[in-house]
Symmetry: C2
Subunit: 257 residues, 2 copies
């Protein structure tokens, strides 16, 4: 039989609120789909539901923009309170254009708006206001915690991947990338492995976790919160498990900043 | 039932030589796997086998490096004849480091080594020499031709995606990207589509073809020529079909060159 990767979007995931038990929500959804976890399975979840469960909401009406935020807001035409939240999560601002702020997030990601998410964010407690969501404070830790909780719930520890959508320097369109990972290889180092004709591959390190995040994102879609959890079967992962942080190019190797 | 994306690597794909009929090779492989094409299916193939079928081989022993190639070879420690082939396929050289040349390919891709491939390249005609492979001269056209040939062979025109592996500016590891496409959306424009809470999504254009290319690449692997063809089922593609060229960010919108 053909080698297969099967991505299945779990249906019936409810709206997630602060404090919700994601492992329980995912465990129930797996049961509804009659999926029994196997050790090489991977559970892919969007950053959005992890951030919601962790209560990473910010009410913009409670934010007072700094002078720097006011300046950047004027430059870009963005809401100064949103810019303030972006700056609080950033190490540095790399580029700005009308409507666009590209930063180095304090976690190391180079991305627009510091990953601060303002679509599909409802009030966490029913109060009025315009809410945005910050990334989890430590997404690799969130992934490891979810993996452990899934093991407690389901008896098997799957790989866990937390995804976000990033733009690219030279290509249009966002793609899913891994911002948190546990229990699966994130970078696959094929260097030194001989190819078919015994030529040593010189520079092949594969961003495996990003490839999986992208494939899952093609199924998750972007507009609605309808498919925030994807189950993946078929990955045969030879390498040692890694972190999503391992995928971030160190500043000293960055040729394009 | 859960929404699914199923990537299946077709087994038994032989080594491809110049002039081989890829549609016939793929048609036979589908039959061996008992897969009957459906209209929304996508056939994902590596650039390598398309280039081989199109005879895009270059024998390095027949290449005479230009002065510019000799200079860049000295700077980077790369084979001057390989550098010459890279330069012939490039519009401009963006960055160089020991072992690394990043260019704008004349097709618009920003990538290492102008996509010139030197692993798993056997002699096309049995003659001695060290061979490399250039990208197809017009990969979107190659994809459209393969789609048409598959329709003639199988009675159904699937989407066709030609993939290559590219590095990223800020992230480590290569990921699969679309270098040729036909019969499926490549960019999915969600702008203006209301989200769950009726907030208008402002800037969401999804690089769908790159997400699919990445997912397929996670299955194809990198080191061997063993899995150059992947069949994808489950994509429900609402948008109009596009080209892989649509994914290239125009130079005037590039903030990082």
């Amino acid at each position: 039989m053909a080698a297969r990767l099967v991505f299945s979007a779990l249906s019936g995931i409810p709206r997630i609120r602060p404090g919700d038990d994601l492992a329980e929500v995912i465990g129930q959804a797996l049961e509804r789909e009659h999926i029994r976890l196997e050790p090489d399975d991977v559970i892919v979840v969007t950053q959005k539901i992890v951030s919601k469960a962790e209560g990473r909401h910010v009410n913009l009406s409670a934010v007072t923009p700094s002078p720097h935020a006011l300046e950047l807001a004027a430059e870009t035409g963005k809401d100064a309170r949103l810019v303030e939240v972006i700056l609080q999560d950033s190490r540095s601002v790399l580029r700005t254009r009308p409507g666009l702020i590209i930063v180095e997030h304090r976690l190391g990601f180079v991305c627009a708006n510091a990953g601060v998410d303002h679509s599909n964010v409802e009030s966490p407690d029913g109060s009025v206001g315009e809410w945005v969501l910050r990334l989890p404070s430590d997404p690799d830790r969130s992934a490891a915690d979810l993996r452990q909780a899934l093991e407690a719930r389901c008896g098997i520890a799957p790989g866990v991947l937390i995804t976000d959508s990033h733009g690219r320097a030279w290509r249009l369109g966002t793609v899913g990338v891994a911002v948190g990972a546990a229990g699966l290889p994130t970078l696959l180092d094929l260097r030194g492995q001989p190819d078919l004709f015994h030529y040593k591959l010189q520079a092949t390190v594969v961003g495996l976790a990003d490839e999986i995040a992208a494939g899952a994102s093609a199924l998750m879609g972007q507009a609605a919160e309808g498919r925030p959890v994807v189950h993946l079967r078929g990955l045969s992962s030879d390498g040692p498990p890694g972190r999503a942080a391992d995928l971030i190019r160190p500043l000293e190797e960055d040729l394009f900043r």
